[in-house]
Symmetry: C2
Subunit: 436 residues, 2 copies
């Protein structure tokens, strides 16, 4: 876990220490390698944080389920009703998320939709502890740890919510910075946290950081933590991170309605046909279902039953995840190998070595991230647009690149990463003023 600063496999001279001549030689060498890349006409893609086809195959058992149509309570899952989701699946994920079943809502195929719905409800109607709907506030701000998840930022931007960034450290959001911001400004209404194997850095919010966020005084009486635990069970090693129990921490600190936990099976079973979950205080759950019920007569309970039968138990979910690990851990290892062998010791990049999740966060020389992405594109390697991990796509240092190695086959990961490394070096040499 945590950023790796230039893990060196051999002793190398940082580019900044090279003589102008040596730097020019280096630049020519890399440019030649780049020209060869372009000539190859590659068509590779490291943009997509989505499961590979053989990961999806692990869940093909779902396609022949459910066996029978009634849930454990005897309810016919094919018919209307059951707004909160079927009990056995809520119980299973309550155990996995360390909450009570009555604190869990099992929804449709997307936790992102549940996040949007939560924002819509806060916006139009206000939360259980809101003095007024958020739309009636003069301004609404959210704290966004960066680098972070682009869709979180896009969602806030749609509401015109101002995004205030804080650093995402190795142990989670910079809690001291957050505490200072929220203490005095009542317009700061919430924050994003991806607690486990964060997108894109892989950082894990520590118990201490989580406790600080749960307990800090906030000027807004209805401050919310959107705790997006998308990768809670998505371990890449046997050193499995345990997410902090944010509901208990917040409740113990006297802020039971502060956290909304989101999770899903999108990267456990089928990315497009899984089940999303929300967990919160029972008052928040009641509030949420009240608004949900205006536009729903219940979720797809057949798909929920399908999932409950497929996993059987919470342990079934954990066991299932080792299959994913076996498929994607080699891809992550390959990303590390290429970065280390090609960039290590040259002083032009740092990157994270996550123990879970879906991404590697690569920091290149300041002011070169956009150029790297541009070079890669011209060489047929699609990278996530530079700045994507920042609000409004604006990376103030133009240095962060998100790498997503899960979807391509392993040989393509290798090829794409070799290309990325070359692009990083070409851009770095340009930046350092190498003559052509």
């Amino acid at each position: 876990m945590g950023p790796v600063t230039e893990q060196q496999t051999q002793s190398r001279t940082p580019l900044t220490d090279l003589s102008p001549e040596a730097l020019a030689d280096f630049a020519r060498e890399q440019r030649a390698a780049y020209d060869e890349l372009v000539a190859k006409g590659l068509k590779l893609d490291l943009t997509r944080g989505k499961p590979a086809s053989n990961q999806l195959d692990l869940s093909n058992g779902l396609l022949a389920l459910p066996d029978g149509v009634t849930d454990a309570s005897g309810t016919d899952t094919r018919n209307y009703g059951g707004l909160q989701g079927i009990a056995e699946l809520r119980e299973m994920f309550a155990e996995l998320l360390w909450v009570e079943p009555e604190q869990v809502i099992a929804g449709g195929n997307s936790s992102l939709t549940m996040m949007k719905d939560t924002l819509v409800d806060l916006w139009i109607w206000g939360g259980v502890d809101s003095p007024r709907p958020w739309s009636q506030e003069e301004s609404v701000k959210f704290i966004c740890p960066v680098p972070g998840y682009d869709r979180h930022f896009t969602l806030l931007a749609a509401f015109g919510i101002e995004m205030v960034t804080v650093p995402m450290n190795d142990d989670g959001p910079d809690a001291a910075a957050v505490a200072r911001l929220v203490a005095d400004d009542p317009s700061i209404k919430g924050m994003w946290v991806v607690p486990t194997y964060a997108n894109p850095s892989g950082a894990i919010a520590s118990h201490e950081v989580s406790a600080a966020l749960a307990s800090m005084p906030t000027a807004a009486p209805d401050f919310k933590i959107f705790w997006d635990n998308a990768y809670a069970f998505h371990h890449l090693t046997e050193d499995e991170a345990k997410s902090a129990d944010i509901l208990t921490l917040a409740s113990a600190a006297g802020h039971p309605h502060r956290p909304f936990i989101f999770a899903s099976t999108s990267k456990i079973t089928f990315a497009g046909a899984g089940v999303g979950f929300l967990a919160a205080s029972t008052e928040n759950v009641k509030w949420w279902l009240g608004h949900l019920g205006k536009g729903s007569i219940g979720p797809d309970k057949v798909n929920q039953l399908r999932h409950a039968q497929f996993f059987k138990t919470a342990q079934g979910v954990r066991d299932h995840m080792t299959g994913h690990r076996d498929i994607i851990a080699p891809k992550f290892a390959e990303v590390q190998r290429v970065l280390r062998e090609r960039l290590g010791g040259l002083g032009v990049a740092t990157w994270t070595d996550p123990t879970g999740g879906y991404f590697v966060s690569l920091d290149v020389l300041d002011g070169t991230a956009a150029r790297v992405v541009e070079l890669a594109k011209a060489a047929g390697v699609a990278l996530t647009p530079a700045g994507s991990s920042f609000p409004h796509c604006d990376d103030p240092d133009d240095r962060n690149i998100r790498l997503a190695p899960t979807f391509p086959p392993l040989d393509q990961v290798t090829e794409a990463m070799e290309a990325v490394a070359t692009c990083v070096l070409v851009a770095a040499a340009e930046k350092l003023g190498a003559s052509a």
Copy 2:
């Protein structure tokens, strides 16, 4: 189709024409029958507009589908993406709804959710032709034909949208009344229409009424028709209603962005695990997907593929509906028989004889609907609360009762309807002042 005024099977004297003594005799007789009912300890339910278990069985083929996981375009339906829904299912329902495939969005398991999402989008962001978001208008009103669908009204009430009622006639909403209202009041932003086999009357909006609604001048530049075609294919007879082509009518009249069509397979396949659809102008579709995309990476395409494979063609959907008709038409016939035999000619009730849909609308003597529901409840027969088909549950005449005969088995429909008839007669006798 249309209201049946006291279809008489035999010549009877209306209660109002009875002498006080004869009325008292009648009241005693009905009261005795009612007491017998209560003694039976019935437990029957006519509230639920949901399919019976054997209707759901018609679609059990879905449980073993999909066969393969790629759609016609070769996309892996298990993974993320495809915001608008898979092409083959959109094509199928485009044909059924007489629109173009690019005008159709295939969504999740609920068209009601798509209605709410549309309102949310109009409310927070405004439509393609809105001068400003609806939430920024001084007031927003909707026209609600009554009797109508309770969930439509509940949804509007959640937004604080004022509901202006117009009569729901046999040929659809009272178009002249609607035209008068919308011509001068720019705060009237939209209306509900259930064009085919309306809930609860079974009325079918005629081509003429539909054309009038599509073309009428409106003071609001962004007036919307929420065209909830929930029962488009839900025929009870071979005289199959054809819904008006509202998109073409509106487009031809210069108001292409006025209608949003909603439909779903909720009462075709599985009520809780079907597919919802929205159809609108291509600009509206683009607008809708733009907002959807903030909180979704695509619908459950596996379930969409399941449906596409199950139906195979648009004709497959039509053919499938005859199975439903075979199951529920006898229940509707039984409702008619009991009402006719028990209430016909007595001048205490009128009711509709729908040729499709899920409901029968029963009008009892003014001021007695709540009493009928109360009497029925005490006798163990659950009826939808009186007034449910009106905004804020307020039936100004206290006369309308919605009957939903699809869910209970046929023998229970008979038993429940006999009880309802007795309650109607007891309440009528009370109302007419029969001495006990």
